[in-house]
Amino acid sequence: MNRFAELLNRLAYEPARNAKLRLIADYFRSTPDPERGWALAALTGALSFPHAKAGLIRSLIAERTDPVLFELSYDYVGDLSETVALMWPPSPSLLAAERGGAGSGGDAPTSTTESCLSTAIPHPSSQGEGELSLTTVVETLSTLGKAQLPKQLARWLDALDETGRWALIKLVTGGLRIGVSARLAKTAAAALSGTDAHDIELLWPGLKPPYIDLFAWLEGRAEKPASDDPAAFRPAMLAHALEETDLAELQPSDFMAEWKWDGIRVQAVSARRDRDMITRLYSRTGEDISKSFPDLLDALHLPGAVDGELLIMRGGRVQSFNVLQQRLNRKTVTPKLIAEFPAHLRAYDLLADGAEDLRERPFAERRTRLESFVAQLDDEHIDLSPLVSFATWDELIAARKDPAAAGAGEDATAVEGIMLKRRDSLYLPGRPKGPWWKWKRDPFIIDAVLMYAQRGHGKRSSYYSDYTFGVWTRGDNGEELVPVGKAYFGFTDEELLQIDRFVRRNTTERFGPVREVVHEAARGLVLEVAFEGLQRSTRHKSGLAMRFPRINRLRWDKPPSEADRLELLQSMVTKIEQGLAS
């Protein structure tokens, strides 16, 4: 448990993805089975302990500490698991051992109060034999009744050090929240053999914690675990980005076009095993996200594999990505959430029809099969992504400019561009160049003023690389800037240096890692900001939220007074809502 705890601890502080990978891979390499397998399960969210709740932890600490001191501490630390882990009193047996020997140096007064545990005490883990393993925790909790849980947890908390206690509480109450996705954990496991996380995703549905066979294969000690999963993920086919100038090289008659919807690309797979129907929803990378969308699973009642876009549909209208986000990354999906944000699948492609694999068939044929498949499903949660008809590139250019008029109608607000697919394209995994193109809508552009800058991480650790920018509006005290977004990419390395220098020389105030930068009518830095979408938002002071904002250009030439106004953004959002925007 202590090694696992130390891993979580390091991961919680490490901002850089590559460093996180190294830490996890190093742990997998140096930790034996089944311990590392349970760790992988914990990191991928495959473990749950329904009886352990935050309330239980609260009552345990209430029995052990002075309530005033607990409240003062909790107020200071701000996190329940952490406060409890840090405050948990040393167990009586440890205290006895401490009194018996192993004193601290100097004239430490050692026998006065209950709290006089010397700071030089060795960690319980270093006392040999009885070290608690993650395996023991998992195995014990899987058989333990609710009534025995508080005593057992208390015994473990007594035996662990602070980091161990923190990790144990995080583990059992669910939600490690240390910035590690399941995908990242699998990528780290894949690094043991130099294979791709993708290969693990393909096997994943057939694997069970503690993943002994997976690690044996990764270390070259055994054959690849056989996947007998009939509802396995099929590696997704992705598109290259297209510029308008590329069109000259392409023949319109070779292609079919459809809208690129602004949701989440998913693969829905249904298959029969014996008499049961197995249905799964996968992300683009093959992560099983079925648990988050039970309302969609019921609709997939025919065997097959559909490639499509996950959207939220209300009153027959596709909702913005902002709305969809409310349903993502939820630990539990309540009936209320489902009713409020009903999931919908808009189908692009058919990879399997019944047991028949269609991936080697041309797209035009798959499309025909898809149309009849969706018709057969006949479910309100699933529909076809319509084709965009065109004979010349000019017609397609016009459709991209105005999706509402070109057939997308009211749903045009959820269109983020056009997909071009060769009629004869096979469904190939990865991102082959040529068969498929994505052609995103032009971004929106505004001029905004830099207001705050924050330091980045890793290679950017000393640079102010995250920028909050604002536009003008009339406030209580006349003209003022209101923040409308935050961007941390889009600029070159050279531009980063220039902005960083500007930030350091023009700081007006500091708040931890954040600096306020001069932003007056005549003094300040104007940033040309590009973004993909704009939504109303009650969470932001400006009432607006940008999608995918980035720094397009630095406008050293422009005084801040000439930057754009909030009213411009408000009229943009109104136009977008009416499906009229560029």
């Binding site: 390091r10 919680a12 502080y13 490490e14 901002p15 460093a19 190294r22 830490l23 190093d26 500490t65 002075d66 005033v68 001191l69 607990f70 003062l72 501490s73 200071y76 630390v77 701000g78 996190d79 952490e82 406060t83 840090l86 405050m87 601290s104 140096g105 100097g106 004239d107 430490a108 007064p109 050692t110 006065t112 109060t113 709290s115 006089c116 545990l117 010397s118 700071t119 030089a120 005490i121 060795p122 960690h123 050090d161 602070e162 330091r455 991480h457 890793g458 290679k459 650790s461 000393s462 350091r504 931890g512 890692p513």
Partner: protein, 344 residues
């Protein structure tokens, strides 16, 4: 006689009217007794200064030869009569030269402990328990969540990280007086034999420690070292330098910070620290409460930090306790050293 007749708290620090002096005054006074050389306790510009020889040397290094009108060195344990009171200096275990100052008159003894810790530290004399009637204690880490643990374990963590990321430079933020030298000494004790690099702001004080007989192994200054040379090394720098332009000379710098605050995740994250090292020169909760009880004092005065919690704790133990509102003391890790960007 009441304790207030010996020492009375004023906004500028505690004052002994009979003896005609202040202890760690936060503004210039005629006669100052200084517990230790950290800048919130030891300021320049007093008329006469009485402190340990090391504290006087360190003040001289920081403020120049003329930091006070006159100086007098106090040896640990030696009685000094000032006006109607007797003063003795006792090791506080905080940093080199740090002292608790005991002031006694008419059989009543008040101890102003300054900052202290009662754990082994290879770079200063160990804390000495001084029985007293009134104990003036700091409260920097006076919450039960602060238990500093074993510094050797933190050093092992640092060395493990260096082994795991041999292409990166590890920067360890450490206050330049005391913490920096303690970290170096702990690394050497743990068997770390490679050269340790120093930020320019660390140099003078660290060399002073060496001149006082502390063996710190091979030390190099960062200035002039190539980026490639710094891969896989450990550099000690002021905390404020961790986020400074200065870090750009290092290959993929990894920020570590040696401080008692590092026990609280939010504090580490706010400072962009990815390797927090809980190594503190202050007493933690256990150390504070155990020391208070051991002094036998019936009355406790609590200065700078989390006074509420410590005053509450004293109440539960039947001890009379009060917070002292003295403006100007801080914690050195929080102070944001002025010399942080010296090499920029």
């Amino acid at each position: 006689m009441r304790p207030e007749d010996i020492l009375v708290p004023t906004p500028a620090g505690v004052c002994c009217k009979i003896g005609g002096f202040h202890i760690d005054p936060t503004r210039p006074v005629a006669r100052a007794l200084i517990t230790h050389a950290h800048s919130d306790h030891a300021r320049a510009g007093h008329g006469a200064v009485l402190a340990t020889a090391e504290t006087l040397d360190l003040m001289r290094l920081r403020y120049g030869e003329n930091f006070a009108g006159t100086t007098q060195a106090a040896a640990y344990g030696k009685r000094i009569d000032l006006g109607g009171v007797t003063v003795t200096f006792h090791p506080a275990g905080h940093v080199l030269g740090s002292a608790q100052i005991a002031v006694a008159a008419n059989g009543l003894r008040v101890v102003a402990s300054g900052d202290y810790k009662n754990v082994p530290d290879p770079t200063c004399a160990p804390f000495e328990l001084v029985p007293c009637d009134v104990f003036i204690t700091e409260a920097t880490f006076a919450l039960p969540v602060f238990r500093h643990g074993d510094p050797d374990g933190e050093i092992a963590k640092l060395m493990g990280s260096v082994a795991l990321f041999p292409e990166r430079a590890h920067l360890v933020g450490a206050y330049s007086l005391g913490k920096a030298q303690r970290v170096i000494a702990l690394l050497r004790k743990a068997g770390y034999g490679a050269p340790i690099y120093l930020h320019g702001a660390m140099e003078k004080i660290t060399r002073y420690y060496e001149s006082r007989g502390f063996a710190l192994g091979e030390l190099r200054v960062v200035r002039g070292a190539s980026k490639a040379e710094l891969a896989g090394t450990i550099t000690i720098c002021p905390p404020s330098a961790l986020n400074d332009l200065w870090t750009r000379r290092f290959p993929e710098p990894l920020a570590a910070f040696a401080s008692g605050w590092m026990r609280v995740r939010a504090r580490a994250r706010q400072q962009g620290v990815s390797l927090p090292l809980v190594i503190s020169d202050h007493a933690d909760w256990n150390d504070l409460t155990a020391t208070i009880a051991a002094t036998g004092a019936g009355e406790i005065w609590v200065t700078h930090g989390q006074e509420d919690a410590l005053v509450h704790w004293c109440g539960t133990r039947g001890l009379k306790a009060r917070p002292l509102d003295i403006v100007g003391y801080g914690d050195e890790d929080d102070a944001g050293e002025q010399d942080g960007g010296a090499e920029e």
